[in-house]
């Protein structure tokens, strides 16, 4: 079978890979190359070595280094909050209380709404509340920070809840019975049976929330439009470097490469860390 199929690769692989090459591979390699060049359009690129990288970190009017730890902090805080809440809601909802289906439907709904729409929707609400205290969402970067946390929690909680629910439902009944025969209380059951069995779900959920946190752009743009500049996450800072000022595309591409390396490294690290805690069944 393998032999017969092998020569059919132009039909099975070529269309996908051609599009993949145009949509991803060429832009990726080209972007990597341009990060070492000075250019305004792609045709006038001149090799300048690491100059752009130096520029990205040292330019006093750039908020890149600030956005680095601001994004990291946002990503960690949102990951913890979303996962703790998502897991809690999941555990309470698998008890089979009345209305479970309605609650599940409601909590999942915001996931389907796009980031731009969500951002504008919440901007009105948050500014409405803040107005009572004489401030707005752009007064300083921490209003933007906690607003983003609120919006992202509202949006992603339901998604993580669904993944945790499916994880909880796949725990074998015998394990729970064995735990209750051994006299384990609710906390012990959670700590020593449910959580270890849930590690695959926790791996996925933390992976999704932490990478979503790092890559966040739409909500940041619509909610505060990156004002004050300290409230810019990395993605928005890079976007502004490219399109907000002329002559900075090189530095923008260098920032993008650094951003890419960070996200890939974190994804690999996270996979390794939580995978090692998964139990074999």
């Amino acid at each position: 079978m393998e032999k017969a199929l092998k020569k059919w690769w132009p039909l099975f692989i070529l269309p996908t890979m051609a599009a993949f090459t145009i949509g991803f591979l060429i832009p990726f390699v080209w972007g990597l190359y341009l990060s070492f060049c000075e250019f305004t359009t792609v045709n006038d690129a001149v090799w300048v070595g690491l100059n752009n990288y130096v520029l990205a970190f040292t330019d006093p009017s750039s908020y890149f280094t600030h956005s680095l730890w601001y994004t990291a902090l946002f990503s960690v805080v949102s990951t913890v909050i979303i996962n703790v809440l998502g897991l809690t809601v999941a555990i309470l909802l698998v008890r089979g209380i009345r209305g479970t289906n309605i609650f599940r439907t409601v909590f999942f709904m915001p996931n389907l709404i796009g980031g731009i729409v969500l951002g504008w929707l919440w901007q009105v609400l948050i500014n409405g509340v803040l107005a009572k205290y004489g401030v707005t969402i752009v007064t300083n970067e921490w209003y933007g920070f906690w607003s983003l946390i609120l919006v992202m929690t509202w949006q992603q909680l339901g998604y993580m809840m669904i993944i945790y629910i499916s994880g909880l439902q796949s725990i074998p009944e015998e394990l729970m019975e064995a735990a209750s025969i051994d006299g384990a209380n609710a906390w012990q059951t959670l700590r020593f049976v449910k959580l270890p069995m849930l590690m695959p779900s926790i791996t996925i959920c933390t992976f999704l929330t932490i990478t979503n946190g790092f890559k966040l752009f739409d909500q940041n743009l619509a909610l505060t439009n990156g004002m004050p500049p300290e409230s810019r996450l990395m993605a928005l800072d890079i976007y502004n470097t490219f399109y907000g000022r002329t002559g900075w595309a090189g530095a923008g591409q260098a920032k993008a490469v650094v951003f890419c390396i960070i996200v890939v490294a974190i994804a690999l690290l996270q996979q390794k860390l939580t995978h090692s805690k998964e139990v074999q069944q």
């Binding site: 060429i26 009105v124 609400l125 890559k215």
Partner: protein, 292 residues
């Protein structure tokens, strides 16, 4: 013993009732932002920022002061050319999802049934592309799309195929690994060509994965903002997220009335679709997660 058991049950019952009550309140709070948005879309724009939480009751004084009927909708639709945006969003989403499902399932089948360096390389690249942030490629991608004239709703489908391939190939591969190979093999021995084997045997087996992949990809493409904004010829084609963001304009203030009305119009189709087929959507997300 029996008595103890029944009191325990009663305790659990009371706890469950309390939980139902608590979750009902949280659910109301969850829907509240959407409700406020709907109310605001019928208010005069001056009152949206000033009194966003006021809900005017028909006939009252605040009602006479704030209510503008469907005026915000008329302004918004005219300003954003919403109907065209809706059509572009729909066209791009449906075409892209269709193309992604067809070609990526074929690719996934090939790389799972043929062990070669090519197969391994394709799979590794797909995984890698899922992690890379869009900012890494956005500048060069928009230039390349312009050079190749892919800046139309049809052209962008090719880019979405390239960009959506990672997730789709990954999802199909996950399912393919647990699929029995015997039926395919016997079909081929009986003289079925590989394409025919794929379309008449593999494709029907993959049906549940088609549904969940379609949902995940559609959610992403329908709501995507930056990719179409940078790739499409923005003077001619605006998708819904672009149209909404465009209301803000370059400088000056936003017409909040039109904005609220457009948000309502952007959200309603999604919620209707969601309520109509939420079973598929939720189980699709679950299936996607298990494969991860």
């Amino acid at each position: 013993m029996a008595k103890q058991k029944s009191t325990l049950k009663r305790g659990t019952r009371i706890l469950n009732s309390i939980l139902t009550l608590v979750f009902s309140l949280i659910s109301l709070a969850y829907v509240y932002p959407l409700f406020i948005m709907l109310v605001n879309s019928f208010k005069k724009k001056a009152y949206i920022s000033r009194a966003p939480f006021t809900v005017p009751i028909p006939g009252s004084e605040t009602w006479n002061k704030m209510y503008v009927g469907t005026q915000n909708y008329a302004t918004g639709i005219e300003k954003t050319d919403f109907l065209h945006s809706f059509w572009f969003s729909l066209l791009i989403t449906i075409l892209s999802v269709f193309v992604i499902l067809l070609f990526c399932s074929m690719t996934a089948w090939y790389i799972n049934r043929v062990t070669s360096k090519l197969s391994k390389g394709v799979y590794a690249l797909c995984l890698f592309s899922m992690v890379v942030p869009f900012q890494m490629v956005m500048f060069t991608l928009s230039k390349l799309a312009n050079m190749l004239h892919l800046n139309t709703p049809l052209g962008i489908v090719i880019i979405y195929l390239g960009f959506g391939a990672g997730l789709a190939v990954f999802m199909f591969s996950g399912y393919m690994k647990s699929c029995p190979i015997a039926i395919e093999e016997s079909a081929m021995i009986d003289g079925c060509s590989p394409p025919r084997t794929f379309f008449s045997i593999v494709l029907p087996i993959l049906q549940p994965t088609y549904v969940s992949t379609a949902i995940l990809e559609a959610m992403w493409i329908w709501n995507d903002y930056l990719l179409p904004y940078l790739v499409l010829d923005i003077k001619k084609y605006k998708t819904i997220p672009i149209a909404v963001q465009y209301l803000k304009g370059g400088y000056g203030s936003v017409d909040m009335g039109a904005m609220m009305a457009m948000l309502v119009l952007a959200i309603i189709p999604i919620i209707v679709l969601y309520l109509a087929c939420q079973k598929f959507i939720i189980s699709g997300v679950m299936a996607g997660a298990v494969k991860g």
